[in-house]
């Protein structure tokens, strides 16, 4: 799971749009895939018929983005059991991971403004 790669917390603070571009939809198989509870998993292709049932379940479920926590809830699997399974699917290119917005030490002002706007609608 670990290895050389860019430190996700070391990204420069930018506007949220830039963050989304930085984090959006890019899979770098050689980069370290730290799966957070709220990393979004999305299926990339038609599911490979040779997959094991639990892998197939993930691939089908993630037609639309789902967080690691949600997948764990639907499959009723502990996060630490699910993680290696997801890592395998990632390395096979079956799914892609959309990492959480990096918050480093303190979150970006524009990110907070976006969240406040969203909460206002509740």
């Amino acid at each position: 799971m670990s290895g050389p790669g860019p430190d996700p917390t070391a990204q420069p603070p930018g506007n949220p749009d830039r963050l989304y571009i930085l984090t959006g939809g890019q899979t770098r198989p050689e980069a370290k895939t730290e799966l957070d509870l709220v990393t979004l998993i999305v299926t990339r292709s038609e599911s490979d018929p040779g997959l094991q049932p639990e892998h197939t379940a993930v691939v089908r479920m993630c037609d639309f983005p789902l967080s690691v926590a949600e997948i764990s809830a639907y499959l009723e699997l502990p996060v630490s059991t699910l993680t290696p399974l997801l890592t395998e699917l990632l390395s096979k290119g079956e799914v892609e991971a959309r990492p959480p917005v990096p918050t480093a030490a303190l979150p970006d002002v524009q990110l907070l403004e976006a969240v406040m706007n969203g909460l206002q609608k509740l």
């Binding site: 197939t56 639907y74 499959l75 990110l111």
Partner: protein, 207 residues
């Protein structure tokens, strides 16, 4: 569980699906003593019916075993409720309500890492739990606000007295929070965001 769709595969109900445009998520952790309303708060603001994720915790043996020089490890499964709020087409906020057993909160790898911050629900009947957790959050540098939950029959104190009792810095927001009330929970989350906002702008200015 009714998560299985007709073809036997587990997954979200159609109304719980995120748009394909969802690019990244952030999280907030709700902590507080046993039965203080963490799960209720998550349910009050979540757009999905709250879900449960679990983790297997490995703990080293307790003191008695240590004295006897025997090392043993116990595995415990800990469950945590969570909910979701779509902030906009790209951004999703997840809220995690920690389980009642506070000794597991900080053992859950990645729960606090990367979190925007935390809401401490203060149970005025059991303040010592919150006192402990506030210390741990401060140690880890996790910003938090305190929601004071007013249960019927619970002792009522002025905020200033609670602040002193909890040894809380003047800058940490304290707010009344009824976990059953969506607007009250929203205001509590909003107080956290505003607090983060001031922390961020202050630290930018001082650079």
């Amino acid at each position: 569980m009714d998560y299985k769709s007709s073809d036997g595969y587990a997954g979200p109900r159609s109304e719980d699906i995120l748009p394909a445009s969802a690019t990244a998520a952030v999280k907030v952790v709700i902590v507080g003593g046993f039965g203080v309303g963490k799960t209720t708060l998550v349910g009050s603001v979540s757009e999905i019916r709250p879900l449960t994720t679990e983790e297997t915790m490995t703990q080293a043996g307790v003191g008695v075993d240590d004295l006897a020089g025997i090392e043993h490890k116990t595995e415990t499964t800990v469950a945590m409720d969570f909910g979701r709020i779509s902030i906009n087409e790209q951004l999703v906020l997840y809220l995690f309500g920690t389980p009642g057993q506070e000794r597991f909160w900080f053992l859950w790898n990645g729960l606090f890492e990367g979190a925007l911050g935390a809401v401490v629900l203060l149970d005025t009947r059991r303040m010592e739990v919150s006192y402990d957790v506030i210390g741990r959050l401060e140690e880890r540098g996790v910003p938090f606000v305190v929601g004071v939950n007013a249960f019927p029959g619970a002792p009522r104190y002025p905020m200033s007295e609670l602040r002193t009792a909890m040894d809380l810095d003047e800058s940490v927001p304290m707010i009344d929070c009824d976990a059953r009330d969506r607007a009250s929970c929203r205001d509590t989350l909003m107080a956290l965001m505003r607090y983060l906002y001031t922390l961020t702008t202050v630290s930018t200015e001082s650079q």
